[in-house]
């Protein structure tokens, strides 16, 4: 095969970002140490906008692949890539305002590590080969480990990075150990080939190894989304990392985790049939639809632990970390509700919708947290005291983001949660829906605690809080996003329904 004959145009979004990262790396070497590197941030944002354009062009095209499906363009991957690109673009705007030469001496590194992390996330979304998926996962993870520990002189940052790398490496090893059994049963790392051969192995008496593989893959990947069993790193790492990196971990890294979980679990395990029913094919029992019980247990535990532990936090970033753990539980509900082939498409669409809404509101919250913490020089919740009186618009925007995170009406968060609630009710998982409602109510307690601090407590000073223009723009964008998606959710839902095609996950596609 001649590599030059391949259709490299399919890789356009990734190549844009890779070239950008390479150029910035070289420019960083050439530039003098004292030079202002904010320009890298603006160049990256332009590059990301170009990549978004390429991704939009690919949306709606039939499935195409390169090199035996080690890279593929399908609707699922393209939608997730849009989430990553938009999210990282906003994180760049936050970082340009956040990075301080004093604290991060090598600030050029920060920009290109953010870009390589983005490439890793994009590979995780659009590949159907376990080797490529694993490389994407590690590319994202290693970039994040370094970004978490980039404040070299700060002990908190060091500690967070070490805790993150240990948890991350253990989890990815567990994931690989599970994968090795799946490889042993099928002799391939290609997800589509595995999905053909695994049902045969399952019925030939190797079901134990299929279960082993399923659980180890699930446990290994759960660290990326910070769900039970490996959620413990989240509070420490979110606290120790620089705030823009925390936002990146909470949003893009988590969305990438969901992309790889859906891609692997759905593609490999859905075709396995545990019991054929020849008389009535609609009653045939599938492995995956039984295994959703375990996913439901994980979702329930994640919601309970995340929400109850968040009540006791006094550090704003730890609180948001546990809130993001709780949200991972909510987003797992549609996956746990896939009990029949009919609802799968809608369930995954609901997950994508929730992830988009989660991205908008969380980036809004983290932008406000960046501003407030920088001003007060502490990350304690008390730094929000009197925010409404110091900058009324900022206070109102923050309250609205928190209301959306809590899932109250007239916000996008309510619609997203409602969709998920309906998913669970449709398949009669009343207990799961019940736990979701109860834990949501618990979450009001800590979200409204911040709102109370902003409106009803006197601030440390009465001085007006200044916000730079680019951050004002981000907050305005997030505010409008949460408001408009709360009032007209159908615009985005229709866009996802139109562009997401479940069959894409299982079709081989064609090579031009």
């Amino acid at each position: 095969m001649n590599l030059l004959e391949l259709n490299w145009g399919l890789l356009a979004p990734e190549l844009t970002i890779i070239i950008l990262a390479a150029v910035i790396t070289i420019a960083d070497l050439v530039m003098s140490d004292k030079g202002d590197r904010k320009i890298f941030g603006w160049v990256s944002i332009v590059g990301i906008v170009i990549a978004i354009y390429f991704t939009l062009q690919q949306l709606g095209s039939p499935v195409e692949y390169l090199l035996e499906n080690s890279y593929r363009v399908d609707s699922f991957g393209s939608l997730f890539k849009l989430i990553f690109l938009v999210g990282t673009g906003i994180v760049f705007i936050m970082s340009i305002n956040y990075i301080d030469k004093e604290e991060i001496p090598h600030d050029g590194e920060f920009y290109y590590l953010l870009l390589t992390a983005l490439v890793g996330a994009m590979i995780m979304a659009s590949s159907a080969d376990i080797i490529t998926l694993y490389i994407g996962l590690e590319l994202l993870s290693f970039s994040s480990y370094i970004m978490v520990g980039i404040r070299k002189k700060n002990l908190k940052s060091n500690e967070a990075a070490f805790k993150y790398i240990i948890t991350g490496l253990i989890s990815s090893t567990v994931f690989l150990y599970g994968v090795s059994f799946i490889y042993g049963l099928t002799g391939s790392t290609n997800l589509l080939v595995i999905s053909e051969r695994l049902p045969e192995a399952f019925t030939n008496g190797f079901d134990f190894y299929v279960y082993l593989g399923f659980f180890m893959i699930l446990v290994g990947l759960s660290y990326k989304i910070a769900a039970v069993p490996s959620y413990m790193w989240a509070p420490d790492v979110y606290e120790g990392a620089p705030t823009p990196v925390t936002a990146f971990l909470a949003v893009i890294s988590k969305a990438a985790g969901f992309a790889i979980i859906i891609r692997i679990l759905v593609t490999i395990f859905v075709p396995i049939v545990t019991e054929y029913n020849f008389a009535d094919p609609s009653q045939t029992e599938f492995f995956f639809f039984e295994a959703t019980t375990y996913l439901a247990i994980i979702a329930a535990l994640t919601m309970i632990i995340g929400n109850t532990m968040a009540i006791f936090q006094s550090n704003a970033k730890r609180l948001l970390a546990l809130s993001s753990v709780a949200h991972a539980g909510y987003i797992l509900i549609p996956l746990a509700s896939m009990k029949s082939p009919l609802t799968m498409s809608i369930d995954i669409s609901n997950m994508i919708f929730y992830l988009v809404v989660y991205l908008i509101m969380n980036l809004g919250v983290f932008t406000v947290v960046t501003i407030v913490n920088r001003d007060a020089d502490t990350e304690d919740i008390t730094s929000f005291r009197g925010l409404y009186h110091r900058n009324p618009l900022l206070g109102v925007a923050m309250s609205f983001f928190l209301i959306s995170l809590a899932g109250l009406p007239v916000s996008a968060g309510f619609i997203a949660k409602f969709n998920i609630f309906v998913s669970a009710i449709t398949v009669k998982s009343y207990w799961l829906a019940g736990i979701m409602v109860v834990t949501s109510v618990i979450s009001y307690f800590y979200y409204f605690n911040i709102i109370r601090q902003m409106y009803m407590r006197p601030g440390r000073t009465e001085a007006k809080l200044r916000v730079s223009n680019s951050l004002q723009f981000v907050i305005l964008l997030a505010f409008l996003g949460v408001l408009l998606l709360g009032i007209f959710p159908n615009t985005l839902l229709d866009f996802i329904y139109q562009n997401f095609n479940l069959a894409d996950l299982f079709t081989v596609g064609f090579q031009r």
Binding site: N158, E159, I170, G184, T186, G187
Partner: protein, 102 residues
Amino acid sequence: MVPLNAYLAVGAIMFSIGMFGVLNKKSGIIVLLSIELMLNAVNINLIAFSRFGFYGNITGQIFTIFTITVAAAETAVGLAILIAIFRNKGTISITDLNIMKR
């Protein structure tokens, strides 16, 4: 000929020893080494399956080369972080990494 199960048993034992080391050892470097051991258990599994599996083929060995490369990167990043901790704190004992509230 050594049967497949023997290789898998060695892999499982190595994986367990590695996991034990990660959970019990105090020194940061030993923890990184234990993770290395777990990754090598995966490599043994992959190579055994690539030789004796139902559909034995070369893919497993190629996967192993990728995991070894990633393990090298892991060591580099992990040690760099440990050095940063040592410079700031003067110790790499993981029991001392507790400045953040739980």
